[in-house]
Amino acid sequence: MKPASHIEVKTKWQRRKERIGNLWSLFKQSKVGVLGIIILAIFFVLALASTIPPKIDDMYIPLYGTDPEIIGFSQPSARHPMGTDFMGRDLFSQLLEGAKWGLAVGITAAAASVIVGTVVGLVSGYFGGTVDTLLQRMADIVLTLPSIPLILVIGAALGRLSIWNIVILIGMLGWPSTSKVIRSQVLSLRERPFIESARISGASDSRIIFRHIAPNVLPLSFLYMTFGVTGAILTEAALSFLGLGDPSTVSWGMMLQWCFTSGYTFKAPFWLLPPGLCITFLALSFYLIGIGTEQIVNPRLRKR
């Protein structure tokens, strides 16, 4: 059977493209959201650019590279646009390397905590009863523990933490808030007729949770992930600054820690200021994107 000529038949891709276009036009309404995207794009470029300096010369390798002519700290010069640190390593290539780690740590830690939080929220909201009570009390406990002191104590007990240990710890401590929000959504979703019809047609619990309910809460999970990235970036920076970071990873927090412990805090503005500003702006960009996303996810916030 041929479709009537005046009815446009859209392929799957066309429909998808249209939906993304709609979402983008909603997102565009938020000035701060667009600002966040722009800032984030700049950091992505910086992170990609971090591969360039080590190829130019060995002295620009962020962790090991040393300038044969400069031993120790130096002020900005033509060879080193931001100067060198106390070991003679180029600060500008460290800053670029920090962008890479900031993005990697922030996104993976937030993704981990959001995945755990979403699954816990789905299970807790769908099954209710004892499962719900147990999971939610666990969430309450984690929620009242201050995360940085807790990671410090765990770090002391484990010896040295690698950057991925830190990512896992941040992820394991960040899930409760997401799980609470997702749970409250699931509580209302599971009473809807389409869930009942799925159950009548014989779908299993796991199919209903992951096929029918999960797609409806994913936008909310994404929203919490953007806020989670902000928290993860700040937590990693704080841990590195306190001296619990991974010394084989050049992150912005590590740069500040080196600056602080080597006694150049107040003598080298080109060492103290850029990493802190970068942390602030990268964390800010995800938060702004979160605010923009909120307007899509929460229709009550749309332009009135």
Binding site: K31, V32, L35, L143, T144, L145, P146, S147, I148, P149, L150, L152, V153, G155, A156, A157, T230, L234, T235, A237, A238, F241, L242, G243, L244, G253, L256, F260, T265, F266, L272, P275, G276, I279, T280, A283, L284, Y287, L288, R304
Partner: protein, 288 residues
Amino acid sequence: MVVSPRMTPELKAILRARFGLDKPLWYQYYLYLSNIVRGDFGTSFYWQGDVFDILKARFLPTVLLFTLGYLMAYALGINLGRIIAWRRGGKLEYGSTVLGLFFYTMPIFWLGLLAIWIFSYKFDLFPVGGMKSPEVWSAAAGVSTLAKILDVAYHLFLPLTVFTVWVFTGSMLLMKNSMLETLREDYIVTARAKGLPEKKIRDHHAARNAMLPVVTALALSMAFSFNGGVLTETTFSWPGLGSALVEASLNYDYPLAQGAFILLAGVVLLAVLCADILYAYLDPRIKY
């Protein structure tokens, strides 16, 4: 297990009895818990002293810094938030949102370093860190109690300002958002229709209700703000529980780190309880 070969059998027996090392694991844990309840947190590896005695001195500075910081930040945040929301849609709202978020996402330790750099290093207005000047507090100086209090206040000023600014931005943004929601409620229209003065609508009808979610968030975000408190204490070498915890963790001083963490968690719980009581006071509909 690592045991010093020079350890005498008598000493071994004492240690075994003290930690219940020949008993099952659950009994050792029970022993540990019951010791904590009695205020026995063990002996610090690093300072060779009783953990509780070390932490006792650290307790008050933390409570002082956090309580003052919270009270000031929330008083300021709620007041400014309602004013900004009242003049919504203008440059004031956009500017304060972006500036507020900028401070909110700033690493607090870096803000602290900037404050020390500008106010202590460049202009020499405030001390770089610590809580007391030795020359004022030594017994020989013989200064009055007032001078001692002023000396602590002088040291407190910078850390308190940094902590307050950081907490304030969060509370201000939250109050603004909550107020914007409240302003669309029907009872605000009713209040307008009755012809009440604008100020009365803003303060008695809108702000009073908009405060409720802010107080809920205060209780929920308490643990998060304590992160900032710990970092502030460390940056300014403020002798509180947070800086004790950081030092102990870096020295691998487990008993001290554990003790400081338990006390810090206790302070969080106490603060959450206070927020809950405040909530019942603010919202007469809530009864416990």
